[in-house]
């Protein structure tokens, strides 16, 4: 299969250039030298979820599955399957085209190795829909240092997408290549307080727009013109603390900036509380605000090299309020298989002051509902 060959070629090229053997032996040496608490592999689990997103004329729902199992003491394997059945009547689609339905399927698989005080993860994913194929390979390292109080992590993702359009005979016509670099540190500050700092740089090269989307220049609709490269950086700081017995407070703040001049800030505050041994409630509030890309215009009055009317690249804000409830049945079988059921509901509002709804000539806004039901256990 083409993906498999591409994957093994990428991996061997990556290994040669980055001296991964050196990295492994360095980590193994560090692992042998420490007597501190070591990293642990993720627990075995099986999850099945049904998810729904409904907002702005787009409805996407479907099942998803995840399975993770240890092979012996040092290796954990995982596999996942995800389906999105999309019914798209979004404002772009309704005002410039006609509503459509399509299905997106994604698979992912991964392997984690425990090497001394570190966990090395290699994983891959592929997502297919009629006019877009996205593939990615990831490598991550997480090392526990400083008596297990600090976790350092590094990660790399190489993505390769094929872009297409279903209204042409020749579906796929261009591609996107992506490089993502991640670094993070998680620090235990007290027996009841954790903080984490993560940074990521994402670089893309290729066809970064949508072949179906139109921009507006002097009132007329033209195909959008986007740069073929984009580099963005994000930094996130978050804190998790047990502020009252069985109650935790989580605060996250992320700053994003990129070469298209989009600057975003995202803040999330969440509270989690246990109610007895069986119930757990998590309530969260998330606010996202961003500035417009340099070449974004709802109706450009100047003819520029690049122009887009993609509302996701405009200056907008969104607010989400969500609740997550987890239930562990009290029965003996539930205890033995670690069964728990989680229901999530989130209501999000999006306000686009710089994107005009052509149907009523007013700034566009919509509310969306996100719902998930997850059944989890171990085997």
């Amino acid at each position: 299969m083409g993906l498999w060959r591409w994957l093994s070629n990428s991996l061997s090229r990556w290994r040669e250039r980055a001296g991964v053997r050196g990295l492994f032996s360095g980590l193994a040496a560090a692992g042998a030298a420490t007597v501190a608490p070591a990293a642990v592999l993720p627990d075995d689990k099986a999850e099945a979820m049904f998810h729904v997103y409904d907002g702005g004329g787009v409805k996407a729902d479907g099942p998803a599955f995840l399975v993770r199992k240890k092979l012996g003491e040092r290796v954990s394997l995982s596999a996942g399957y995800y389906i999105d059945a999309v019914s798209n009547a979004s404002i772009d689609v309704v005002t410039t085209a006609s509503p459509f339905k399509e299905k997106r399927t994604a698979w992912d698989f991964g392997a984690d190795w425990l090497v001394g005080n570190s966990v090395l993860t290699l994983s891959g994913s592929t997502s297919r829909e009629p006019d877009y194929e996205a593939n990615a390979v990831n490598a991550d390292v997480a090392a526990d240092v400083f008596g297990g109080m600090t976790t350092l992590s590094l990660g790399f993702t190489r993505g390769s997408d094929r872009v297409g359009r279903t209204d042409r005979r020749e579906v796929f016509f261009d591609d996107v290549r992506r490089w993502q670099y991640r670094a993070g540190v998680t620090q235990i500050l007290s027996p009841r307080w954790l903080m984490s700092l993560n940074a990521e740089a994402i670089s893309e090269d290729g066809y970064l727009g949508s072949p179906y989307r139109a921009a507006r220049v002097f009132g007329a609709f033209v195909p959008e013109r986007l740069p073929r490269t984009r580099t963005g950086r994000a930094v996130k700081l978050r804190s998790l603390a047990e502020v009252l017995p069985d109650t935790a407070l989580r605060i996250e703040a992320r700053a994003y900036w990129d070469t298209w001049d989009v600057r975003g800030r995202t803040i999330e505050i969440a509270g989690t509380r246990k109610f007895g041994p069986q119930w757990l409630l998590d309530v969260s509030l998330r606010s996202h605000k961003q500035t417009a890309a340099l070449f974004y215009a709802d109706n450009a009055q100047v003819d520029t090299v690049f122009v887009t009317r993609n509302r996701q690249l405009s200056a907008f804000n969104s607010l989400g309020l969500g609740a997550k409830l987890t239930w562990k049945p009290a029965a003996a079988w539930a205890e033995r298989y670690g069964v728990q059921v989680t229901g999530v509901f989130e209501r999000k509002r999006f306000r686009f002051p710089e994107f005009i709804d052509l149907r009523n000539q007013r700034p566009y806004a919509y509310d969306a509902n996100v719902m998930q039901v997850v059944l989890a256990g171990r085997f």
């Binding site: 998810h51 526990d144 008596g147």
Partner: protein, 81 residues
């Protein structure tokens, strides 16, 4: 400015600073002992409890918003073994 180099430069600088400080001063003792980590294994003190649900939520954010990245990785927990 080439910010990839900025990211790498900063992490290298941080690491060298740690290395340097290790030479100059006695290594700091970890102040949270393994037997004090009970609260960190509690479900309320996990960053993520249902990975599928969280992944789906992040997927929605990256599709519906112009900003993405730095979603986060694990840490904390039991620290056993």
């Amino acid at each position: 400015m080439r910010p990839e180099r900025g990211l790498v430069g900063t992490s290298l600088a941080l690491v060298l600073a740690l290395l340097g400080s290790g030479c100059a001063i006695k290594p700091i003792e970890p102040w949270v002992k393994p037997y004090e980590r009970e609260r960190l294994t509690d479900p309320v003190m996990q960053w993520s409890r249902a990975s599928l649900a969280d992944r789906h939520r992040e997927h929605i954010h990256s599709v519906r918003e112009g900003a993405r990245g730095a979603v986060g990785v694990q840490g904390g927990g039991c620290g056993c073994n």
